[in-house]
């Protein structure tokens, strides 16, 4: 079985300061991990994915995430927040066994103030 915990429902930062969105997972098999972002009235957009290659994954818009197996974490970071980063972010796990499904975290709403 697989599960995802996003530790913060809301994160508030000021523009230009670092962003940290936390995610812990559990999986019976070697997982793939994803971060999706959802802007208001838009679909879920893939930010980045980990698929057992490099543990530090770079995504779009300056985001990156580090897969830490010992900590079962996949935290999302960005050095400097932009106003356009304000959105809801979902951490997602998928076990690499057959047609295994995506399991979503509850989401973290990122608020960016000027």
């Amino acid at each position: 079985a697989q599960s995802v915990t996003q530790l913060d429902s809301h994160v508030s930062v000021s523009e230009g300061t670092p962003v940290l969105l936390r995610c812990n997972y559990s999986s019976s098999y070697s997982p793939s991990l994803f971060w999706y972002v959802q802007h208001p009235n838009k679909g879920l957009q893939l930010l980045l994915k980990y698929t057992s290659a490099a543990t530090l994954v770079k995504g779009i818009n300056g985001f990156e995430a580090e897969f830490k197996k010992s900590e079962t974490s996949f935290h999302l970071t960005k050095p400097s927040a932009h106003m356009s980063d304000a959105a809801e972010y979902f951490c997602v796990v998928r076990e690499n066994s057959g047609y295994s499904t995506l399991t979503f975290g509850k989401g973290t709403m990122l608020l960016v103030s000027p």
């Binding site: 793939s32 009235n41 879920l44 698929t51 047609y99 995506l102």
Partner: protein
């Protein structure tokens, strides 16, 4: 850039009525999915579809739900007799292939409100 589209964006229906939610996946994709998100809760997997049949479904996807690919472009989710608890945002997704490494592309969602 190709994208998944969904119609309508918002559907209001009376309890007990049938609804059909429509999706147009990305044209060269072969795998299709439905997810839902009840307000304040997690996005949950409903069903995956490949080669004109269901490949996987969750416990949520009971006999009141069905999916269909009626033509070469549309992918639909039907709820036969809606209940209040079916109120949710429904997301369609598609991917080129199955398996854990393949990105699923999501549509903007249909918000279903059952009164």
């Amino acid at each position: 850039e190709p994208e998944v589209t969904q119609t309508p964006s918002h559907q209001v229906t009376q309890m007990g009525q049938e609804v059909i939610l429509r999706c147009v996946p990305i044209s060269n994709h072969l795998y299709f999915y439905w997810y839902r998100q009840i307000l304040g809760q997690k996005v949950e997997f409903l069903v995956s579809f490949y080669n004109n049949e269901i490949s996987e479904k969750s416990e949520i996807f009971d006999d009141q739900f069905s999916v269909e690919r009626p033509d070469g472009s549309n992918f639909t989710l039907k709820i036969r007799s809606t209940k209040l608890e079916d109120s949710a945002m429904y997301f369609c997704a598609s991917s080129e292939a199955g398996g854990g490494y393949n990105e699923q592309f999501f549509g903007p969602g249909t918000r279903l409100t059952v009164l």
